[in-house]
Symmetry: C2
Subunit: 421 residues, 2 copies
């Protein structure tokens, strides 16, 4: 094991987590606020010693992600600390949507039910525990959307300071969500890339010494939060892994962690070792992984995003190559849909299941439809499609098409005329 | 028992519900789509024959309101039908807010976690079951906000048609939420009052024969959904009734039903018969019940609403007199807060607990603060404050005050200068 990095806390409690290990070369490090291998610059992941974990222990836990605390880098008393209790969101049997698409056994995992209405609450809450462990006093991130609210809210409730960095020309509504929790909100005069570069500078400077950037120096812990989607889906299906699952791709981290979660459940004997196919979903306007998949490439060529699915608009997805591996290994695929297809899919999901998804949910449902029509999706297999965010946050996407059916005077005659057919 | 009303379904299953009874004169009616006593025009309520209900049976139920199906006018198989699974929202121990206000044992019941992010999902889901029972094919309402989305979403998932009536000059964002679920959305050229009058006409016309207006002809069933807030709070506190609870007042129905819920739990032996005080909260710009309370009146004089708390802006609250009774009987009170106090309370709750409330949540937290400062709230008693909706739906309220802390160039020097203190 490598020596302790300089930010190492003297005492910490990460529960079953025992080390960080490099995904590329396997080098192991003590648990610390580091994210890249010192040898090969590969990404670091949390490694565990799980011991025995039973379905009964999990079922006896709370109705949030802490029911899986024995599988996460968090202390055993995590649920007792002030936190937003994310997770255990609904897995809706989607009979109406399934009937329309010709799928026999379809489910929607609806993560808009999280405290700040996106899956980001899952990952941020794990980052909060890491921040506490390392003695960080400020929780931070750069963001143009969901992450800002998740960080602000989680820090407020945990009693940490927060500082969120945004491009100064962000839309008013997003500024409200980023600032309402009372932390520092810093507008940076520049593009989102410039915001990110500035954040990297800050991490290396004494100014940022007590700062936990959830998706930079706390990233290995943060990313583990996405595993809980896999755990919940399997448990909500009665402890079995779905045969097909459609997952959105931004950095690709969520998809790789859901795969990791399924593999852990199998290794621990919590579910049967049944085959599953993982499908990745992108917007055409930011589809570097889909393009690589279709071209048969192993590397992902960065693109400049141009899509209404802003929460997936990462042109250079860090986990892209791993996503390609997983889609190919499991017999899945990666596909993309156009902006109009995204809007149509948002409306389809709302009309059939009463779930109003963010654009990212339009991407997954759109890809589900496209792959079903192409005969790639098995219509008889148990299939789960993810909605990772809330339609209220991306109203613009559907605004132009969401109009009254009719506008009439307040009279029965006018009503009768308008709805004569 | 009175004869069956003309809309009576031949067969129905309302679970433990056995009749409707008049809240004023006690006259009883068969369960039907009626809402006012034919003798005295008093409001009709659902009457039950509960039999035995145990904590264990409830705890073995799902993590939504159907765990209380034995206490609601719904069939025993209600959870198996497509529905949005509302309820079982978080009861956060609010240690940070409590410390700031000087309250020792404070909780926030956060109903923004519901499927369409307000408590309306609870009441609408009960109305859906009534609509199914009566063979109605269209779910309908008039609305300027939360109810439209709740009705549209619930109908979509239940496979019912929906038709929502709105004033045609409604804000764009609200039109999106009301129309995205694909039901009919009818803009009425006129005020909200004119929309309501039109809906009453429609109910009396053959055109509306198969229509269930959730808060008109299905109102007795619909209103029962609010009881689940009482059940959940008591169960989440470990089967005890809080000593103090702060509830917003729109029509006043929610407050009266929470009181009814607590009384049922006591009568069934599910909780100890401990005293509780119910406090009603209004916005000063629509405070007819608060005004009557302070003046010592038994009747409520209607007002013309003028407040940012639109979801509470009912100038002639139907249940106002009952609210006055309950506040006085339990030793509670009714209080109101100004629009600036509402905004300050939204920000206070977000900053201390990471919960971004709708304006209605600003009203309850503002009233909590005001009554605490006035010495009316006991700082040592277990106290629950309700947030019934989601801040994303009333962004305008906080927009002008939610600004970046600083806007800087992307450099450490600029950052250092901006945050020198």
């Amino acid at each position: 094991m490598r020596e302790r990095p300089r930010f190492m806390a003297l005492q910490h409690d990460f529960g079953p987590a025992v080390a960080l290990s490099c995904r590329e070369c396997g080098a192991r490090y003590d648990l610390g606020p580091i994210f890249a291998c010192q040898d090969c610059f590969g990404p670091l992941e949390v490694a565990y010693d799980f011991g025995t974990v039973s379905r009964e222990d999990i079922a006896a836990g709370p109705a949030n992600i802490w029911r899986y605390k024995a599988l996460l880098p968090v202390p055993a008393n995590v649920a007792d600390k002030p936190n937003l209790q994310p997770g255990w969101t609904k897995l809706h049997r989607a009979g109406n949507l399934g009937a329309e698409l010709g799928l026999r056994d379809l489910y929607v995992k609806d993560d808009s039910g999280n405290p700040t209405h996106s899956f980001k609450d899952r990952v941020v809450s794990i980052a909060v525990e890491a921040a506490r462990n390392f003695g960080f006093t400020t929780l931070s991130c750069s963001s143009t959307g969901n992450l800002a609210g998740a960080v602000g809210a989680a820090a407020a409730r945990a009693g940490l300071d927060s500082c969120v960095f945004i491009p100064s020309n962000l839309e008013e509504a997003k500024i409200v969500v980023a600032s309402v929790y009372g932390g520092k909100l810093v507008g940076i005069e520049g593009s989102y890339d410039e915001v990110n570069r500035f954040c990297s500078e800050l991490i290396g400077d004494p100014l940022g010494e007590k700062w936990g950037f959830v998706n930079v120096n706390l990233r290995p812990y943060y990313a583990e939060g996405s595993k809980t989607l896999a755990y919940e889906i399997a448990e909500q299906l009665g402890w079995r892994i779905p045969e097909q699952i459609i997952i959105p791709i931004a950095s690709g981290s969520q998809l790789t962690k859901i795969d990791k979660g399924f593999k852990e459940l199998i290794a621990l004997g919590l579910v049967e070792d049944t085959p599953y196919k993982i499908f990745g979903a992108q917007a055409e306007g930011c589809s570097p992984v889909s393009a690589a998949y279709k071209a048969g490439h192993d590397v992902v060529r960065p693109v400049k995003p141009d899509t209404i699915a802003k929460s997936l608009a990462i042109g250079n997805p860090a986990d892209g190559p791993y996503v390609l591996d997983i889609a190919r290994r499991t017999g899945g695929a990666v596909e993309d849909v156009t902006d109009p297809e995204i809007v149509a899919a948002i409306r389809l999901l709302a009309r059939t299941e009463g779930v109003f998804a963010e654009t990212a949910g339009g991407v997954t449902v759109g890809v589900l439809r496209k792959l079903t029509e192409a005969g790639v999706i098995d219509p008889d297999a148990t299939t789960v499609v993810l909605n990772t965010g809330e339609g209220l946050k991306t109203l613009d996407a559907v605004q132009s098409e969401a109009r009254p059916t009719a506008v009439i005077r307040p009279s029965l005659d006018a009503f009768r005329t308008a709805f004569a057919n």
